[in-house]
Amino acid sequence: MKKTFCYFLFFLVMMFEAVSSPCEGESLCIQKPKNIRLEQFLTLGSLEDDLLFQWVGVTVDLLGNIYVTDTLDYSLKKISSAGNLLKRRGGRGQGPGEFMAPRLLDASENYLYVTDHLVSGIQVFNKDLQFVCRIPIQVPITDFCVLRDDEIAVAPLIVNSQAQIFFYNDAGKIKRILTLGQHRADLIMDQFSFVFDEHKNVYVAYTFQDTIEKFDKKGSRIWSTELLGKKKVKKEKISGYDLPTEIIYKDVDLDNRGNIYILGGSFSANPSRDVYVLNPEGIQIATLTLPDTSHCIYIDDKDFLYSRANAGVTLKIFKIKY
């Protein structure tokens, strides 16, 4: 009787261990959907005001000030955490501090970095939006990330090339190149968005391929996953080239816990609204749905998620709740 009880106890302990121990093999791991949700916190830009006309890039400083690029009025705007416009810089042109089509935006501790869709290079501003310099980068930039003031990681748009990240210094010189994976895709099929974690691992979401990948700082693939089971995107002949016309993944970012947030494109159940949440091991743990379609997502240091609404005249801020 005592022996049977011991066996039973041993069996119970083993069961408990099996359930509570971390997964080692992906196929054995059954992930329960985590209760991650978005709680709307703030809305910037109404249909009546003149705050935002078509915002594209967004970033936030440590004080909570919000910076956006607005392509319709060629500007870079600084907005307080309460939603008031503090400063506006820009104007149509190609001179210092001017824009033709301001786009991506990132920040270091002291500076803001802005790309222009029609003008090469990255313009640098201080936090008062005063022009500092232009970093001469000749390749078109599809995504970028400021690691330090003298280290800017850039995803270049290079036709018929492998997916690569170029690391530039503040003078626009390439310091090193990180090649992601082995294969070479046709034309611009390797276009991607990316984000680094604190260990310099890089997470990549491909624009025209159903692939999310994690690489270490040397470019070795740690894992690769697909979320939508979409093998191919539609292509059209444009100026003699077969170019993809459908987007699978639009953007990627990380929260403070290291979870990966990926904004889906045309093939999601809710196109341009579904955000897939993966844990650092690449296992999907939740799907969030934004109330409006967005072209990007941005997550700040305090786990607020920023997305677009009303075709770019509104910026919505959500608190990520766990």
Partner: protein, 168 residues
């Protein structure tokens, strides 16, 4: 005598045309009385843009239009120029009238364009639409209406600007 009558008729037509633009729900901002333009304005020319909404959202598509508009004397821009924003029924209409109006406002502010602009929500000008933003030049001296598509050639731009300057 006959020429004077014809001129009067054309003038009436222009006033009528401008009045149609001014009426009803296409109105957005800064109404200007057409009579004042023709009788008290310094120029005998009126310039009307038929602006494709999708060109507003595309920087390279609006470059020629902006380049030309910003070359016009400020007074002519304020007193003798009008804009009508047209768009394809369907997808763009789904954006909502307020969003379209806000984007047009942002485009006008961002480019420091000073002429009154109207949005053709009821597609009154659909028969005038082509694929491009257009320019209609109404001249009450020569009694002519000319139409140009953007992008303008350098020669067209020069000729129109010359005509405008001469009309002042």
């Amino acid at each position: 005598m006959q020429k004077n009558q014809t001129r009067k008729k054309i003038k009436c037509l222009i006033i009528f045309f401008l009045s149609v633009l001014n009426m009803g729900n296409t109105y957005v901002s800064k109404p200007v009385q057409p009579e004042r333009i023709l009788e008290n304005g310094k120029s005998s020319m009126v310039l009307i843009y038929i602006i494709e909404f999708r060109d507003i959202l595309c920087t390279p598509c609006s470059e020629s239009f902006l380049d030309f508009s910003l070359s016009l004397p400020l007074e002519f821009q304020k007193e003798n120029t009008w804009g009508i924003v047209v768009f394809e029924p369907g997808r763009q209409t789904n954006l909502g009238e307020k969003i379209i109006a806000k984007k047009v406002r942002g485009f006008m502010n961002g480019n420091q364009l000073h002429f009154p602009v109207f949005i053709d929500f009821f597609h009154i000008f659909k028969t005038l639409r082509t694929q491009a933003t257009q320019l209609l030049l109404l001249d009450s001296t020569s009694l002519t209406v000319k139409k140009y598509d953007f992008p303008l050639t350098a020669k067209q731009k020069e000729a129109i600007l010359l005509a405008v300057m001469e009309s002042l």
